[in-house]
Symmetry: C2
Subunit: 267 residues, 2 copies
Amino acid sequence: MTVVRGAFVQTRPKFGRNEENIESAIRLVSRVDADLYVFPELCNSGYAFTSKRECLALSESLNNGNSVEQLLSYSEKRKCAVVAGLAEKEGQRTFNSSVVIERGKILGTYRKMHLFFREKLWFSASNRGFRTFFLEKIGCKIGVLICFDWFFPEASRKLALEGAEVICHPSDLVMSGKAQVGMMARAFENRVFVITANRVGFENRGPKDRFRFTGMSQIISPDMDKLAAAGKTETAAKVAQMNLDLAKKKYVTPLNNILSDRRPSYY
Amino acid sequence: MTVVRGAFVQTRPKFGRNEENIESAIRLVSRVDADLYVFPELCNSGYAFTSKRECLALSESLNNGNSVEQLLSYSEKRKCAVVAGLAEKEGQRTFNSSVVIERGKILGTYRKMHLFFREKLWFSASNRGFRTFFLEKIGCKIGVLICFDWFFPEASRKLALEGAEVICHPSDLVMSGKAQVGMMARAFENRVFVITANRVGFENRGPKDRFRFTGMSQIISPDMDKLAAAGKTETAAKVAQMNLDLAKKKYVTPLNNILSDRRPSYY
């Protein structure tokens, strides 16, 4: 039996204050003991960009940017894994990305496949697809989705078919409560754990760029049980014990394996 | 604006009493006025077969079987459409099917694609795939899923991609509350209405064949609103007004059409 302690941190970033935002997120997560910590989407920069130039200025390299360095150092010190949503710069392009780190080492990155609303104006959508990462020290295979990716059941399904036991879901959700229901379905229909780390707070950067972020971060089991949850407005870090055997067991009755029962030629 | 009055009927069939079961279902639905009525899965025969021979004996032709005749007559008299789950016999094979009827005319049938548990021993799984039906008098395109089909997000997606505005979901659900959450996600992620008609009651036909059916039939809007719902143990028929414009509008923001935002080459 492999039990992984998974955690989300629910933060309230201040727009454009990258270093301070990562510092306060780390202060929050330091309060709880976990093996795997999931941070919100764009938790370095904040969300509501008003121009491509601004987005480029606040985005960072995921090789050696300051935010990644802070997270690497934290994960090394705490001997843990971290999945964090970061505004990524590569040359003159920007991506809404997540970095996957284990004990001071970058395992890789995921770039958001389904951009939401005006993110389409600031970020390039990924053409790299979905991928899983094996956390060697923990012995756990994870997949990453970012915020609006949740809306597309194909995304979670793809990760489950590739063996993800835990879906890490950095988010800046604005539709109150919808993704929480959706991710309960995703956890159950794929028999995976889901850690949604959402942010809270309000950003008002002009009439087109007003967003209230809805919190309610949660950890859901493959049986659809809510193992941990946060409120709508608080900052918080919470942990749950995830027994990975539950995610390996794809049978819901002795005659129904939910992956091999699929009828892909008809979909 | 096309508003369709959709209804579910939540019944408590008695095993093996086909004629009586359809009669009492019709008595129940007669209490409410609707354009489209959805009945539970296997609402003619009951659920817990103990042999293939028994299943064959209680299944009926969907061309001219007695249950279909009763439903045709009801739909003609009430000038309505009916989707009802029926045990179907074709030659020596049986299917867990739904018939789609409008005003005394059979529009077609759907045979369950994903069989649950010991249904695999009694029924043949469909090799016909998923299909939609246009209700001409009502002006509404529907798709049909049966019970456990809900578990597979690909099924609802397929129907939405083929233009279904309403998913009719005859069910004999035994996992309490899971499908209700799942179908809220399906309604929202596809922007369709979902009418789940579940049954109640208990069937005990031996140690391997004991089932408690969980009720909680519901009608969900494309915005994930619960428009109607029944209790866990009552028989009931309930109606909701479904504004089809909501299902035609696939945009969730001015920049996000949830069908064209899909990235099928990566799924």
